[in-house]
Amino acid sequence: MQEDNFQQFEEEPPSFVQPAMTYGAAFAIAASLVFYGTLVAAMSGAEPGILPFIIACLGCLGIIFLPGVFSVKSFLKQTANKLQVGKGAVIGVVSGAAFGVMYGFMDLVWLLFGVETSTLVMEYTLALTETFGGDTGQVDEMRDVMEEQARTGGSIMLGVLFNILIYGILNMLSGMLAVSIWADKTSDEF
């Protein structure tokens, strides 16, 4: 009995930080590859259609909620399915923040391959507009603005902060949902 108590005293509470950050980073890489990879492939063709953009958006949209879900699912294994919704929210926020940072970092990786992600979407939109015979004047103006912003370092930092905020909140919600679905209803320990 004493040994059991001593062992219980010695055991550290499980940590969610590593799985949260790992899943956040992994899914960010996947989302970036799906979204920008699809656009790059579409732009390399003769005339880019709308379908690649839809696929890119849907694929990315499906991925951005997954870090919170997988992080919570992984942590539930360590806590024998006992977890409070609030804790799931915290896990989701951490994994979403990791997602946001890695997603921003992937922009630099794409740059190594000669792809400027900040202007890729605008270039794609411009190509689509030209394909369908629309007014390219406004899109040209927007591209000039984005290129100007891309030249200043402040936009990168702001982009990362924005990513952390948005993906943190989105994965907070998905983390809470994961707890509601998979955790035991009577949990009050973690």
Binding site: Q84, V85, G86, K87, A89, V90, V93, E148, Q149, T152, G153, G154, S155, M157, L158, L165, I169, M172, D188, F190
Partner: protein, 312 residues
């Protein structure tokens, strides 16, 4: 036999909804300030647009003065709904209803009530040259082009609104009363309390002050705004009441409105010309420190963290 049976009191969970479900206070506070900001902006924009459409007016953003009334009214309604009312409802997640007033500090200072308010008024007045100095310092800091562009747009918008020539009472309502009440409910009633529970009093004052500064999205003024936020937070904790901070906020904003109303040339004054004399800044700093040091004790609990009333 039955008379000797002890009375069994049913177990009642005294914890708030947030505590029962394991939500850390800092997370609730951070998420709520973002959500409240979004509600404020959406409601404000929607109301302004509907008013303009109803009047058949255009959206000439180059002539802010013509849109000023609708924009200010929309802004006020956005603040009342998004920052004030919504925060008061959401706060019920973090506290039991019977402790609500004390939690939100919707109580008058228990001791030295009159003196607390007098000191609050004096503080906000004597600190003004110091805030002007901080604003001048802030404007010397280099900002990224994107951020300074956003800031210039904000300043242009504010100048247009202040120069619109609207009735002074409406301007005081929209720029002094509404923010003075609604922003204080969000930042000093709710947010400050949440961060006190998570980080302790000192960090709560600093963090909520910085969030207050960031909230205004004016990066050329973020330092004075953050310092004002910290000062208001400190007064709230010392007073045990949010009402002195509301009064200070009203005086600070209302003073600007009245100054512009009496001296319209202040709007287009160059930043260098608005730097107060050195002796005034030093005097302001000394007077502010003195008033802070001598601020009357008004709280029930000296730590200011335990919000449940000790006397029932």
């Amino acid at each position: 036999m039955e008379d000797n049976q002890p009375e069994i009191t049913p177990m009642v969970d005294e914890r708030s909804w947030a505590e029962r479900n394991g939500f850390p206070s800092w997370l609730l506070g951070t998420v709520w300030v973002i959500v409240a900001f979004v509600i404020f902006q959406v409601v404000g924009t929607l109301v302004a647009v509907l008013l303009l459409l109803g009047e058949g007016s255009g959206f000439d953003l180059d002539n802010i003065a013509e849109l000023a009334f609708e924009m200010l009214l929309g802004n006020s309604l956005g603040q009342i709904i998004g920052l004030g009312l919504a925060t008061m409802v959401v706060a019920l997640l973090s506290v039991k209803a019977r402790n609500y007033k004390v939690f939100m500090r919707f109580t008058m200072p228990k001791y030295n009530t009159g003196l607390v308010f007098v000191f609050a008024i004096l503080l906000v007045i004597v600190a003004q040259p110091f805030f002007w100095f901080l604003a001048h310092l802030n404007m010397q800091l280099p900002l990224p082009e994107l951020v300074s562009g956003m800031d210039d747009m904000q300043i242009e918008l504010l100048e247009g609104l202040l120069a619109a020539g609207l009735p002074i009472l409406f301007m005081l309502f929209a720029i002094a009363v509404v923010p003075g009440v609604c922003e204080e409910i969000l930042f000093r009633s709710y947010l400050l309390r949440l961060f006190e529970k998570s980080t302790g009093v000192i960090l709560a004052i600093i963090i909520t002050g910085i969030i207050f500064g960031l909230f205004h999205l004016r990066f050329s003024q973020i330092i004075p705004l953050s310092v004002i936020g910290m000062l208001l937070a400190w007064v709230t904790i010392q007073s045990g009441s949010v009402f002195p901070a509301m009064l200070m906020h009203f005086i600070h904003n209302g003073g600007t409105v009245i100054a512009i109303y009496l001296y319209p040339e202040l709007i287009t004054m160059e930043p260098e010309a608005s730097l107060p004399p050195f002796w005034l800044v030093i005097g302001s700093i000394v007077a502010t420190i003195f008033l802070l040091y001598r601020y009357p004790v008004a709280t029930i609990n000296k730590e200011g963290v335990h919000y449940v009333q000790e006397e029932t």
